[in-house]
Amino acid sequence: MFFYHLIDGLFLGGLYASIALGLTLVFGVMKMVNLAQGEFLIGAAYLTYTVTTLVHLDPLLSLLIVVPVIFVISYAVQRILLNPLIKRGMETLLVATFGLSLIAQTAFTLIFGNNTLSLNAPYTLTGITIFGDTVRTIYIIAFVAAVLMVVGMYLILTRLRFGKAVRAAAEDPAAAASVGIDVPLVYGVTFGVAAALSAIGGTLIGLSYGFGPTSGSEWLLRSFVVIVLGGMGSLWGALLGGILVGVIEEVTASIVGAQYRDLIVFAFLVLILIIRPQGLFGQKVSVAI
């Protein structure tokens, strides 16, 4: 039985990692806690919902349309609204992104109503048996997606010229600018990429659970736990943190009861922050690798 919970937790953790990646990337590169990240997730889920109902595409295929749209929107938001605020410090950004999330939530309610929606696909209700334990197919898809996203981001950041520019801007914006890196552009693209990653996570959420206008904050909280555990700003940390949160949730829920699930998770968050603020796997906070 215990072994089954481990497997369940592992794959649930893949889903958690996929929603937390964007948050950790933005924090790692521009030291910004984006409180609107949850709305990027849910916004993408709504957008996927719209696309699938309009053209009857498979939700995962419709990501080909959704991801670029979300990228463009968030790039614009970053350049126009957030970029001028970065030099003014963290509290300003918290308030600004919080304002964004209020606006986005209201927009969702006005457009889609208060109902809980969900995305449908042939694989949402099926399961696959692994070592005798049945796991939801969508969790396995999410796990694979999370691993692919982390490896992809790692390769981009280490191999590509642009990725090196991102790391330089993350390490020391002033020095990066002095060697000719367009730091605002780097920030804007990073924010867009983070939102695009969240769009994938959001669609996976929409396929796994229902979502409403305010579900974003719930997922934002989970993402916080994941990235604090893995080390804020760390890519691999997000993956490992996601898996760890998933496993802890499943295992403790099976021991003390499902109603204490959130309590354990949040208590764990505080505990980690007190004992090891840099996260379990991160060395020093800052560079997004």
């Binding site: 410090g89 600004a96 968050l269």
Partner: protein, 364 residues
């Protein structure tokens, strides 16, 4: 302590020094003499108007005023920690909930008189805040915000499951707890005045200077011998006391409490919105912010979506264009007007005697 190695952020708008009281009107000769009197006169007038409230306000208006006063108290308390202290706390929802539940439990299970219960609610909130501060005060900036958020959510999920306090269904206050509207009004007014006086005095004391020095640059403050930990801890505890009493008042007004609303994150979100709109790190800002926020909320009551949208837009506009909030923008505007009018006057008096010109220039 890897966190302390992080580069200090560039000065945020909240860390802009509070303008020394009275600078702008001291530049206008007439106002320089009477400014102080005008200020105190206005204050006394407002207090008198508030004290006589129940004689000219209807019951409905009294309950509105009760909520408004509570908003002011809550926002000012958050401002002490979040504005003057620069600690972006999301744990203040926790203190509202602790205040509410302490009052309910004491009234249900003991014979403590109701007014003492209010103070005890604040006391328990202070104790919880002290423990929270011991746990979290080592963290800074985003880490502190996330830690305090985690603590609040942990407390909320605990309360949802704790059968002693009625779990999800919460508690109903005994019938003896029902107070009439003017008493509640006066209680909330008294709490507001107490909070204002304490926080204004605290901020202007040497202790307040230490607090703001830590906010602006903790390392530099440490070099000068300011130990940040006790200062932050005491500020947090004081702030929690007022929030706890306000939480108890809110419970007294609604007469039944349940965890999802008592510990709701909306409390701290409201405090932050009010403080930012009105003017963070100013003593008047939260009052003005509360009036603006509450008016918006009431005016658009039937259109909750639109009021949330409007507040979101307002928040972004203010943080982008007027980071000091409404109050600082007003003060700066007046200052500008006063300077312009003075310049015009001094230009018109060029022909006047040398001595007169000297005085005007001295004043400018």
């Amino acid at each position: 302590m890897t966190l302390s190695e992080r580069q200090p952020e560039p000065t945020s708008p909240e860390t802009v020094e509070q303008p020394a009281k009275g600078t702008w009107f001291e530049k206008v000769p007439v106002l320089k003499r009477s400014g102080r009197w005008i200020k105190w006169g206005l204050l006394v007038l407002l207090l008198l108007l508030a004290l006589l409230g129940p004689t000219y306000l209807s019951v409905f208006e009294l309950t509105l005023a009760f909520t408004l006063f509570n908003y002011m108290t809550l926002a000012q308390s958050w401002n002490l920690v979040g504005g003057y202290g620069g600690q972006f706390s999301l744990a203040h929802s926790l203190f509202v909930g602790v205040g509410s539940y302490t009052l309910a439990v004491l009234l249900l299970h003991s014979n403590v008189p109701i007014y003492l219960t209010l103070l005890l609610s604040g006391g328990v909130a202070t104790c919880i805040a002290t423990v929270a501060a011991l746990l979290l005060m080592r963290l800074r900036e985003a880490y502190f915000a996330i830690g305090s958020l985690g603590l609040t959510m942990a407390a909320l999920t605990w309360m949802i499951n704790w059968s002693y306090t009625g779990a999800t269904s919460g508690l109903n206050l005994p019938p003896t707890a029902a107070l009439d509207y003017s008493t509640l009004y006066y209680l909330s007014l008294a709490l507001l005045v107490l909070t204002m006086v304490c926080i204004v005095l605290l901020v202007r004391s040497p202790f307040g200077l230490r607090l703001m020095a830590i906010r602006d640059d903790q390392e530099a403050a440490a070099e000068l011998g300011v130990n940040s930990f006790p200062v932050k801890l005491i500020t947090f505890a004081i702030s929690a006391f007022f929030v706890g009493v306000a939480g108890a008042l809110i419970a007294l007004n609604s007469l039944s409490i349940e965890p999802n609303s008592a510990f709701s994150l909306n409390w701290v979100i409201t405090m932050i919105i009010i403080t930012i709109i009105g003017g963070i790190s100013t003593s008047i800002g939260p009052l003005i912010g509360a009036v603006v926020f509450f008016t918006l909320q009431q005016a658009l009551q039937g259109y909750q979506n639109w009021s949330a949208l409007l507040i979101g837009v307002l928040l972004i506009l203010i943080i982008r264009l007027a980071p000091g909030g409404i109050w600082k923008t007003l003060v700066n505007g007046f200052q500008l007007l006063a300077e312009i009018s003075l310049k015009q006057r001094s230009a018109g008096q060029q022909s006047a005697s040398q001595q007169q010109e000297d005085t005007v220039e001295n004043i400018v």
